[in-house]
Each structure stands twice: as structure tokens, then as C-alpha cells.
């Protein structure tokens, strides 16, 4: 084996690959099962965007908080939420992460620092400011990461949160997951000032743009930005330019895409392929090792679906439990 030229040791490289593969398989399985009518509600798939969640979350621990989006499965998995509990939640079962009452867009696990996916666009940003303020007051070096799409970045909640985080110098990283489309509207039609880095600059914080399909680009930039926030350097914005392999939601005919666009991005911008080819080429990880992970992950997803289908639905008597929390 050659000397490792990467910024992660082999164990962490394998961990990153396993996380990305788990997200991909999880989402592809949902794509199939949703089409069969097995899953209630809506699902928005993260497939194609795995490098972003993984490259960021590799720098976090359970004490760090994240606030996610409607497209939150990848963030959950990368933050360490149990895949079986997620699958059961999406299937609406009482063994789910939120006892089957949240579904795809409300998966949360506070023990992992995952404050929740969110059905309201741009709603994660104010939440993460609160979590970051708590970390700052406690002085525990915790950071908060919020994700927002290129569309929801126009929400007032997001823009107000940029301001608040800058004014209070909060340890927050605002991640703009720019997959080019706000549902069906291409970014250049809907985002003023044309660059998220410009937006960050306008609020007095640095902004950085990276190729979100390159795990190492995200990992390296996120590492510097998160370290800066932990050290009291204040908020920053990270724009990850990436691609989604499926529609805005499952069932989206994607008529807004150019002919051949999906095929082209799947062929040239698949973050899993880019990562695996690079680590194999460098001689740090073998193809056999990655294939062993592929088999392990496939078994895990299959088992999660089997367990979810076998689990009971919530009872009518569960309807009013866990709804309000008394402080």
C-alpha cells in the first residue's frame, strides 16, 4: 500500500465511504418502495448529494447540532441517526425515530445532535442560531450547522438568521446545498446578488464555494470553517455546488431539466464514484474493501426495510402522546 496522501486516515476514509454508500442505498430503496406505494406521505431524496453531508459531518460530534431540511435523510445518516429507526419512521411505524408520527420530513434524534428535518423551508436556520447561542453560553465549543437549499436561501428566516448569527458572533455554519433548482426553478431566475458568497459578505461573514460532488473539497473547506467557528471566529457560509439524482420529490417528472442532463450528471458528477476511484487509484483502499462495504450496507438497508414492515403502526391512543413537551 502506498503512503496515504489524503487528509483522513484509512479508517476514516472507509467510514466516509460507508456513510455515503448508506445514504445512496437508503435513498434508492425509498425511490423503489415509494413508487410501489409502500410509503405514506412525501419523500425528497438526497441521492447525488452525499459528499456534502458526509464531508461536513465527519468534523462533528454528538454535542454539535444540525438543523436539516425537507431533504434530510442524508444529514440524519451522516450525523449518526440509526438507519433502522429512520426507515421505520418513514414507513410510519411505532419503532421509528419519532414513533412513526413524523415521517420523512420530521426525523429528529437529539441524542445525536440532529434537531430535525423540517417541512418548512428555511426553518432550520433560526433553530440553529438558538442551539449555537446555547453552545456559546455554555462555552462547550459546540457548533451548529444548518442546511438550506438554493431556493429556501431566499426565505426571510434564513436571511434574518445570517444577520443574527453575525450580530451575536455565533458558532454557526450556514450550508447552502445548491443543486441548481428550487423545486423546478433554476437558480439564476430566483436568487438576487447571484452568489451566496456575496450574500455572506453582505452580512459580514466569509463565504466559500466548493464543488459539492468532491468529498475532499467539502471535507477540507468544512474543516477549516468549523474550526474557525469553534475557536470563536464566528459564523460563515459554505456553498456546495452539487447535483440531485432524482426529482424535487418522488413523482416529479423533471420536465424543467434539459434533455440528457440527468444522464450527464450521473455519468460525470457521481460523488460516490469520484471518491472511490480516487482512493483506489491512490492505492490506499482496495476495490474489494469497498465492495465488502457495499454488501454490508445493502444487507443493513434490506434488514431495515424488513424490520420496518414488520413493526406495528402507532395506535389511535398514541395520537396525543409526544405532541407537547412540558418544560
Amino acid at each position: 500500500m502506498s503512503q496515504n496522501p489524503f487528509p483522513l486516515d484509512k479508517a476514516d476514509l472507509l467510514k466516509a465511504y460507508r456513510t455515503m454508500r448508506t445514504i445512496r442505498d437508503f435513498e434508492e430503496r425509498l425511490h423503489v418502495d415509494f413508487a410501489k406505494g409502500d410509503i405514506p406521505g412525501f419523500v425528497h431524496l438526497y441521492a447525488g448529494e452525499e459528499a456534502c453531508a458526509t464531508g461536513i459531518m465527519m468534523h462533528l460530534n454528538d454535542n454539535d447540532r444540525i438543523a436539516s431540511t425537507h431533504r434530510g435523510h442524508g444529514h440524519c445518516i451522516a450525523k449518526g441517526v440509526d438507519v433502522h429507526a429512520m426507515m421505520a419512521e418513514i414507513y410510519g411505524r411505532s419503532t421509528g425515530a419519532c414513533r412513526g408520527k413524523g415521517g420523512s420530513m420530521h426525523i429528529a434524534d437529539l441524542s445525536k445532535g440532529m434537531m430535525g428535518a423540517n417541512g418548512i423551508l428555511g426553518a432550520g436556520a433560526p433553530l440553529i442560531c438558538g442551539a449555537a447561542l446555547a453552545a456559546k453560553v455554555r462555552g462547550d465549543r459546540g457548533v451548529g450547522i444548518t442546511f438550506v437549499g438554493d431556493g429556501a436561501s431566499n426565505q426571510g428566516t434564513f436571511l434574518e438568521s445570517l444577520n443574527l448569527a453575525a450580530v451575536w458572533n455565533l458558532p454557526v455554519v450556514f450550508v447552502v446545498e445548491n443543486n441548481g433548482y428550487a423545486e423546478s426553478t433554476a437558480m439564476e431566475w430566483a436568487v438576487s446578488c447571484d452568489s451566496y458568497v456575496d450574500r455572506a459578505t453582505g452580512f459580514g461573514m466569509p463565504g466559500v464555494t466548493v464543488d459539492g460532488t468532491d468529498f475532499f473539497a467539502v471535507y477540507e473547506a468544512a474543516g477549516e470553517i468549523i474550526r474557525r467557528a469553534r475557536d470563536g471566529g464566528g459564523p460563515a457560509l459554505l456553498e456546495c455546488n452539487m447535483v440531485r439524482f432524482y426529482g424535487h420529490f418522488e413523482g416529479d417528472a423533471q420536465t424543467y431539466r434539459a434533455k440528457g442532463e440527468l444522464e450527464a450528471i450521473r455519468a460525470s458528477r457521481d460523488c460516490l464514484t469520484i471518491l472511490s476511484e480516487r482512493v483506489i487509484e491512490a492505492g490506499v483502499v482496495s476495490r474489494d474493501e469497498l465492495q465488502a462495504i457495499d454488501r454490508e450496507v445493502a444487507d443493513r438497508i434490506e434488514d431495515a426495510v424488513r424490520a420496518a414492515k414488520a413493526a406495528p403502526l402507532p395506535e389511535a391512543s398514541d395520537l396525543l402522546t409526544d405532541v407537547y413537551v412540558a418544560y
Binding site: 452568489s195 458568497v197 475532499f216 477549516e224
Partner: protein, 356 residues
């Protein structure tokens, strides 16, 4: 026929990690558009009536358009007509390559470039004999000189309208060609090629000096920032001299204090904006033009003009060759000096022929 000037304005330069690790500048899109309007006004003042611009979806053109609409509404004739190269937009360096090629084929007299070293490199790769007028809107920007863009626009306008003799108006520039496995030129750099041990492109920028191994520069300028500064603080080599400099570096550059290897010297160099870093220098030598250099580093990444661009392994054979007079730039300082000496912008300019 009146000369047409090409414009390549890159909306995505100055966006990388150096805004976090080194407090680098963020130049907003609206600022880039304002710079372009200043250049356009200067070109028009020199008699340029048409420019052709690279299309982009980053917003520069739409901001510029507001300026044009406002001028038209006021009945002011401030700007040349803007035409756009008919081509699809990919948002990558391929756009710059293609737009430059199209401009060259269309016979533009010069190309004004707004961007960093990377944008200028992309234009220089395709511009052929068409001269470049560079304006810095990137991060490190060792290649484009720093000055008010209005002056760059004026100099370009004076140069392309023939009011300054070509031997004064245009200057030759060097480049370093990088060949991989003996093939045709794989890549090239305008200022520097750095070989680093990181074998991933990642966030592209260079700031971990402990990974620097070999450095090849077309000019070694202690007044610029980045790799050229390392060379320039050892042995200055001018832009207009033949050949460049090659510097070998050792691990341990990130440690303060004496170099870890007794055979090395520690140099403090401004490697990025606001970032003075120690680098361990083993030795350096002149890099004559036309002589292929084979690096000793066997694997890692090749950084061109301060950004990691491609990785290589033990199986790859690299060769680097510096070329003198590889492409031309508008010599803004010489043009403006000539304009002043010959009162080109007064009511009755002295004819150029009086100079010859």
C-alpha cells in the same frame, strides 16, 4: 474597420477557502459589474464602439445591463455596444476557453480579462496572438497587475485603436508548460507550478507549506503574493527577463524556528493574502527557457498558479518547460507613459509617427 475588444469576466473567481484560512477579499458580483462598466467607459472614450463578451449566468452581465439602460435613458453615449459570444454556458473554465477561442477567430484586437490567475491562464491558453489586458478580481493574482481598471481600459483602448505603436503597447509574457507522460502539453501556468504532496485536489488552494516540494516560476517577484513571492524573496527574476526560477522545498516548513533539516533555510513568505508562512528551502536555481525540467517529486498534486489542478502518481512522468514570449499583454504602464509624453488625450495629440 473599428477594432472590437473581447471581454472575459469570470463570476466565480475569489470564492475559495482562502476567505476563511487567510482573510482574502470577497469581490461581489455587483463590484465586478461596476469594474466592467469603468473599463467599458474608458474603451468608448478611446473610440472603441463594439465589445464582445463571454456569456455567463453569474449575474455580471445583468448588472452591467442596468448601467447601459440607465445611460441610454439619459441619452448618454458612455459605453460601446455589447455583443455576446453565441455559446452554451457551463459555468466552468471550459466557458473561458471556448469564449476566448471564438473571440480570437472573430478577430478581436485585445481581450480584457476580469478574474484571478486561473481565469487569466484559461484565456492565455486560447488567445494565440491576441493580447490580453488583465484586471485582478481573484484571490492571489500574481499575474494581473493591481491598478484601477479604468486605466487598464484606457490603455487597451489606446493600444487597439493604433495610437500607440505595437512595440510599446504590447509586451511578451512567459509561461510554463507541464507535460505528463511525454504527451502534448497537459497544462500550463502563467506564474507558478507548485508540486505538493497532497494527492487530492480538495479545496484547491495552497496553504499548507509543509506539503510544498518543488516550485517553478516564470517570474520571481517579491512584490506579489503566493508562490512567486517565495522565489522572489530568494532571487528576484523579472517578468521581462528570459527564464524563471526553480525552488526545492523540504518538509517542516510549517514549524517556526530553525528548519528541521540542517541543509535547509527557513524563509518567511506571504503565500496567501494575510498569510505569512515559514517555508523550508533546500536550494534554488535559474530555469532557462526551452529546457525541460523533470521533477524529483514522484507523486502528489500539481498546482497551477496557486491552485491544485491535477494529481499524479509514481507511474506518471512529468516534464516542465518554460517558454519566453508565449503570449502578449497590453503593457498598461508603457501605454500610459507614452500617452502622457505624446499628449494623446489632449485635443491635438502629437502624431505617433513623430515618435518613430
Amino acid at each position: 474597420m473599428a477594432p472590437v475588444v473581447g471581454i472575459v469576466a469570470n463570476p466565480v473567481s475569489a470564492r475559495d477557502i482562502r476567505r476563511v484560512v487567510a482573510n482574502a477579499t470577497s469581490l461581489q458580483i455587483a463590484d465586478r459589474a461596476n469594474i466592467l462598466l469603468r473599463v467599458l467607459a474608458a474603451l468608448r472614450a478611446c473610440g472603441v464602439q463594439d465589445v464582445v463578451m463571454m456569456p455567463e449566468h453569474g449575474g455580471i452581465r445583468s448588472h452591467v445591463e442596468r448601467g447601459l439602460v440607465r445611460a441610454r435613458a439619459r441619452g448618454e453615449d458612455l459605453y460601446p455596444a455589447i455583443h455576446t459570444v453565441a455559446m452554451p454556458v457551463t459555468g466552468t473554465a471550459a466557458d473561458t476557453h471556448r469564449a476566448t477561442r471564438e473571440m480570437r477567430l472573430a478577430g478581436v484586437a485585445a481581450i480584457v480579462v476580469l478574474g484571478g490567475d486561473g481565469t487569466h491562464r484559461a484565456v492565455a491558453a486560447e488567445c494565440g496572438a491576441v493580447p490580453i489586458a488583465g484586471i485582478s478580481t481573484g484571490t492571489n493574482n500574481a499575474f494581473p497587475e493591481h491598478r484601477e481598471p479604468t486605466i487598464t481600459g484606457l490603455a487597451t483602448g489606446l493600444a487597439v485603436t493604433g495610437r500607440v505603436p505595437p512595440h510599446i503597447a504590447f509586451a511578451g509574457n512567459k509561461r510554463i508548460d507541464v507535460s505528463v507522460n511525454g504527451g502534448a502539453v497537459a497544462e500550463m501556468a502563467l506564474v507558478d507550478v507548485a508540486l505538493v504532496t497532497e494527492r487530492y485536489i480538495g479545496a484547491r488552494a495552497l496553504w499548507r507549506t509543509e506539503n510544498f516540494r518543488e516550485l517553478y516560476v516564470t517570474f520571481a517577484d517579491p512584490e506579489v503574493i503566493g508562490m512567486s513571492a517565495i522565489a522572489g524573496l530568494l532571487e528576484p527574476v523579472g517578468r521581462d527577463e528570459s527564464g524563471g526560477l526553480m525552488v526545492r522545498l523540504a518538509p517542516g516548513g510549517s514549524e517556526t524556528g530553525p528548519a528541521s533539516d540542517p541543509g535547509t533555510t527557513t524563509l518567511l513568505a506571504p503565500i496567501a493574502p494575510g498569510m505569512m508562512a515559514p517555508v523550508s528551502v533546500t536550494d534554488w536555481r535559474r530555469m532557462p527557457a526551452g529546457v525541460p525540467f523533470v521533477p524529483k517529486v514522484t507523486s502528489g498534486s500539481i498546482a497551477l498558479d496557486g491552485e491544485r489542478e491535477l494529481s499524479f502518481t509514481e507511474r506518471d512522468r512529468l516534464s516542465l518547460t518554460l517558454r519566453d514570449d508565449a503570449f502578449h499583454t497590453v503593457n498598461v504602464a508603457a501605454v500610459m507613459r507614452h500617452a502622457g509624453q505624446n499628449r494623446l488625450l489632449t485635443g491635438t495629440p502629437v502624431p505617433v509617427s513623430a515618435d518613430l
